[in-house]
Amino acid sequence: MKHTHLGEFEELALLIVGNLDGNAYSISIKNILKQKTNRNPSIGALHTALSRLEKKGFISSKEGGATTLRGGRRKRYYTITAAGRRSLDQSFQLRSSLYLTLPKLSHEG
């Protein structure tokens, strides 16, 4: 996946999937998002993002873990792929390199 665009919300979701390390499914991702960013995205928005990420090959999914709370329906667990990880690395490098060359604001004052 060369130069695939990664939206801001998608990037966040991807980071959280990586962080949850095997326990990432829609509701857990949503909870972390809510906790860390104070944003409460709709479940639909989240699924759209996850669906796109999967299409881009940054995450992969498998089904499992049905609970009674879910009425016996299985969850879909997401894991980050190597491509996803690389994309995050690139994004981080780009941001940090740009950040480091940011001119100081002090003379203005």
């Binding site: 639909g44 669906s51 796109r52 089904e63 049905a66 009425g71 329906r73 299985r74």
Partner: protein
């Protein structure tokens, strides 16, 4: 899915339904779960607010889901498959009888169809081994007379091949084979063997046929040489290397040096020469006939041509005609009384399409092969129908299992896959068993049963396709039926009219086929019996036929007389003779003979027989006109002949007129007597015109000689030992083979008897499979209706009423089958009977008796399977309601 007790609150259903309509199916489960989980996490707060949020989420998801990717779900993984296999095995073992019925019917039907397909495949492969077979043709030789075609033969006169090859540029090369049967080759003083086919041929035959030469040059030109096939060389000399260069003695008249050894002709070859000699040897053996290869009239040579590639055989046939007319000054506008027509048949077509006389290997009709193919396909289909019917009828048994699987998260695809795995397992298992049986019984009972010969087993294209398609379709259909249950509509599935209708249709089809086969079997059987019952015109029981020897020495006639006298000397023999006709075995040799009656000369095909006067006494044939000559034969003067009534009629004479007339046999012959007709072969054909030749008895150079004896008591059997000893003293190297004429007549009907056996096997098979299938279905049908039976009994039904209820349905089905199957049976049976000159009619009884039998059997099976259910105490079935 119903909610469970932990969570009483349920969100409104409609948004979910809307969502499910638009969202790709692969996401359904996850999204449903997510929505429910979210809803329940908020459960303890305000309910209305919760519902609103739920509705918002659902609607939000609905429109967003339109852009969701269709994710590729992996429909299975190893663990799941393993589970399916385990469950299949358990299920299989849990209900052994039903599983065995399924497997049994599949195995039986597959085995039989595989055998047939294998057979057909082999028959169709005949001669395909010959290199460039598409350019190789065999000449067909026809002789036409004023009454039409009199001769249609695979053999043609020798000089035509070199003549045509020299004058028609499209012909690249030619090969002629004079095939001689049942001759004796010996390794002088050590070993002798009877061989079925010896060919006197043009030099390059092995190359033409693509037969590998093991040693020697592979070309036969030298008149003192012979080439042997590998197996004959081994039989005579022990090994191939021993045989090369040795001397073999041919029929005790000629020594030949073994010039080469070749690989045996393949089993699927119409030409199977075991030894090959040069064609010019015939000048030495039958000089008056061969005429140095210049006999343009006598037809005894299988003539093969290799054409230039891409030449059109039709233009070659036209060239044949043109060159022939040219050579013999024939005016096509004014054809002579007797003229030749030449035609071609591709070598690869000979075995299946030949309708000519004198084929080296008896051809198989393509119609018979196609019929066999149809029968095999029918049997295969019946097997699949059984499988589909039984398995789909058993699906409701598994409602609970399906329910549990769904609640544990199985989706439609999973369940379909589960059933597919299970059915595939049974189908594959059955296929393997069937292939095994076919393979291991290559020459065993199955082939005996079907009366077909199979040298090898090979899985042909049609067989493979049948196996694969059949197996898969038989697995898919019940799997789809099973997965309908996933929609939760169990009852609807069971009562599903469409499925029921389809099943009924399939049952009717099975029984229609069975009925057709039974009627056809009975027709064949009755026809054979009818032919047996007809009177051939003489007492078949009292005629003893002893096969003549295969010899070619100068004192053959003396030896034959010696053995005849031996027979005459027995007390149990009234009179003995020898002739070229064995009553019940053959009808003589054929010739196209003209009458010589002034200008009114007409040709007809006549069966010619060499006899002595005693022949008519032995056979008890009455003389209609004239007198049978007595006394010695006069081979020098005009030969005297005797015609039968059919022959006289064919020449447009009355019996009285015929006496003294001449016919164009040899250099003309004179008719001295007319005798009544007798039937010497089976009643498949009309009476044939016959001519008995009195003055030409050559007891040599033919293998169609027989000793005939009229016996008067069974004590003849006690003399057999003595006779055999005398026989082998007079004719060393020959086997003593004897039959009574009635036995020979029976073997005339062997073809029909074999065919009958074949069709009977299939009809029994078809009935067996259909009944087994029916038993399988009704067993389950009855289980499903246990409660209905209980209620009916409570309301006062008797056991009889209940049985009738079940039987009624199938009774109607059989009637429907009859209305389909019987007209077809009538049509096909009649069509088959039209092949016979003496035939029965397909009567009312022949059609209705099988129907009655079928109804009886079906009633028996249905009452048997439903009796248990009908006897059950209604309390036991209904107590849980």
């Amino acid at each position: 899915m119903k909610d469970n007790q932990l969570h009483n609150d349920t969100p409104p259903q409609w948004p979910l339904r809307l969502l499910m309509r638009f969202c790709p199916e692969a996401h359904h489960e996850m999204i449903e779960g997510d929505l429910l989980e979210l809803y329940r996490e908020r459960n303890n707060k305000n309910r209305t607010l919760n519902n609103i949020r739920y509705i918002y989420d659902a609607l939000d998801l609905t429109w967003r889901s339109l852009s969701f990717e269709k994710i590729k779900t992996k429909p299975f993984n190893i663990a799941m498959l393993k589970n399916y296999l385990v469950v299949s095995m358990r299920h299989f073992l849990k209900n052994k009888s039903a599983s065995l019925i399924s497997i049994f019917s599949l195995v039986i039907s597959l085995t039989f169809s595989l055998v047939i397909f294998n057979y057909v495949e082999i028959e169709k492969s005949y001669d395909s081994y010959i290199p460039d077979v598409e350019d190789k043709y065999r000449m067909i030789f026809d002789i036409y007379g004023s009454s039409g075609r009199n001769v249609h033969d695979a053999e043609s006169p020798a000089p035509f091949a070199p003549f045509f090859a020299a004058n028609i540029p499209a012909i690249k090369s030619y090969i002629r084979i004079f095939d001689q049967r049942n001759i004796i080759l010996s390794n002088p003083g050590l070993q002798s063997t009877k061989i079925a086919f010896l060919g006197w041929t043009d030099p390059d035959i092995l190359n033409f046929m693509g037969i590998e030469v093991i040693s020697g040059s592979g070309k036969i030109e030298d008149q003192n040489s012979i080439m042997l096939s590998k197996s004959i060389a081994i039989r005579l000399f022990g090994s191939v290397s021993n045989a090369q260069g040795k001397t073999v003695r041919y029929n005790d008249v000629k020594n030949l040096e073994v010039q080469g050894i070749y690989e045996d002709f393949p089993f699927n070859s119409t030409v199977r020469l075991e030894a090959i000699g040069a064609i010019d040897v015939l000048q030495e053996l039958i000089p008056t006939y061969y005429e140095n290869g210049e006999n343009w009239g006598g037809y005894s040579f299988h003539t093969y041509y290799k054409m230039n590639p891409n030449s059109d055989y039709r233009t070659i046939i036209e060239s044949f005609k043109a060159k022939y007319e040219d050579r013999f000054d024939i005016d096509p506008e004014n054809l002579p009384d007797e003229y030749f027509v030449f035609d071609l048949i591709n070598v690869a077509d000979i075995h299946l399409h030949s309708d000519m006389g004198s084929e080296m290997t008896a051809p198989v009709s393509i119609t018979k092969l196609n019929l066999l193919n149809y029968l095999a396909i029918i049997i295969a289909i019946i097997g699949w129908i059984n499988f589909i019917n039984i398995q789909s009828a058993r699906v409701p048994e598994r409602i609970k299992e399906i329910g549990v699987r769904i609640s544990l998260g199985a989706n439609a695809l999973n369940l379909r896959l589960m059933f597919l795995v299970e059915y595939l397992l049974i189908c594959v298992f059955s296929s393997v068993i069937a292939i095994g049986i076919v393979y291991w019984s290559t020459t065993g009972f199955l082939y005996e049963l079907l009366k077909i010969e199979l040298p090898i087993f090979q899985l042909g294209l049609l067989a493979t396709i049948t196996l694969l398609i059949g197996t898969f379709s038989a697995s898919f259909y019940p799997a789809i039926v099973a997965s309908r249950l996933i929609k939760g509509d169990v009852i609807k599935t069971i009562k599903n009219r469409k499925t029921g209708r389809l099943r009924n249709f399939m049952i009717s089809l099975q029984f229609a086929i069975s009925l057709f086969l039974v009627v056809f079997t009975l027709t064949i059987n009755q026809q054979v019996e009818y032919m047996h019952s007809l009177d051939p015109g003489f007492d078949t029981n009292s005629i003893l036929v002893i096969d003549g020897p295969t010899t070619q020495s100068n004192d053959d006639l003396n030896k034959a007389n010696q053995f005849r006298d031996e027979l005459n000397g027995l007390a149990s023999v009234d009179l003995a003779t020898f002739s070229t006709l064995a009553p019940g075995k053959n009808k003589g040799w054929e010739g196209n003979l003209p009458s010589r009656d002034g200008d009114n000369s007409s040709f007809q095909k006549v069966s010619l027989v060499n006899i002595f006067p005693e022949f008519f006494k032995i056979m008890d044939i009455e003389v209609t006109a004239g007198r049978i000559p007595q006394g010695p034969q006069q081979s020098e003067s005009l030969p005297r002949v005797i015609l039968n009534e059919t022959a006289v009629l064919g020449f447009n004479w009355t019996p009285e007129e015929a006496i003294g007339k001449k016919v164009g046999y040899s250099n003309d012959a004179v008719v001295v007597a007319v005798v009544e007709d007798i039937k010497t072969v089976g009643f498949q054909d009309q009476l044939v015109p016959m001519m008995f030749i009195h003055d030409h008895v050559y007891f040599q150079q033919t293998t169609n000689d027989y000793f005939l004896a009229k016996v008067n008591s069974t004590s003849i059997l006690e003399s057999m030992g003595h006779l055999e000893e005398t026989y082998s003293n007079i004719f060393p190297d020959n086997d003593f083979v004897f039959n009574f004429s009635n036995e020979l007549f029976q073997s005339q009907y062997q073809k029909e008897v074999d065919f009958n056996r074949l069709v009977m096997t299939f009809s029994l098979l078809s009935i067996l499979l259909s009944l087994v299938g029916l038993a399988g279905i009704t067993t389950y049908h009855v289980i499903l209706k246990r409660k209905e039976i209980g209620i009916r009994k409570v309301l006062g039904s008797s056991i009889n009423n209940i049985l009738i209820l079940f039987i009624k349905k199938y009774f109607y089905l059989i009637l429907i089958s009859g209305s389909i199957g019987l007209p077809i049976a009538y049509y096909i049976s009649n069509d088959w009977l039209n092949n016979f000159a003496y035939r029965i009619d397909v009567g009312f009884l022949l059609l209705t008796a099988p129907l009655a039998l079928m109804i009886f059997l079906v009633c028996l099976i249905v009452s048997f399977t439903s009796l248990n259910a009908a006897l059950v105490n209604p309390v036991n079935v209904l107590k849980e309601e």
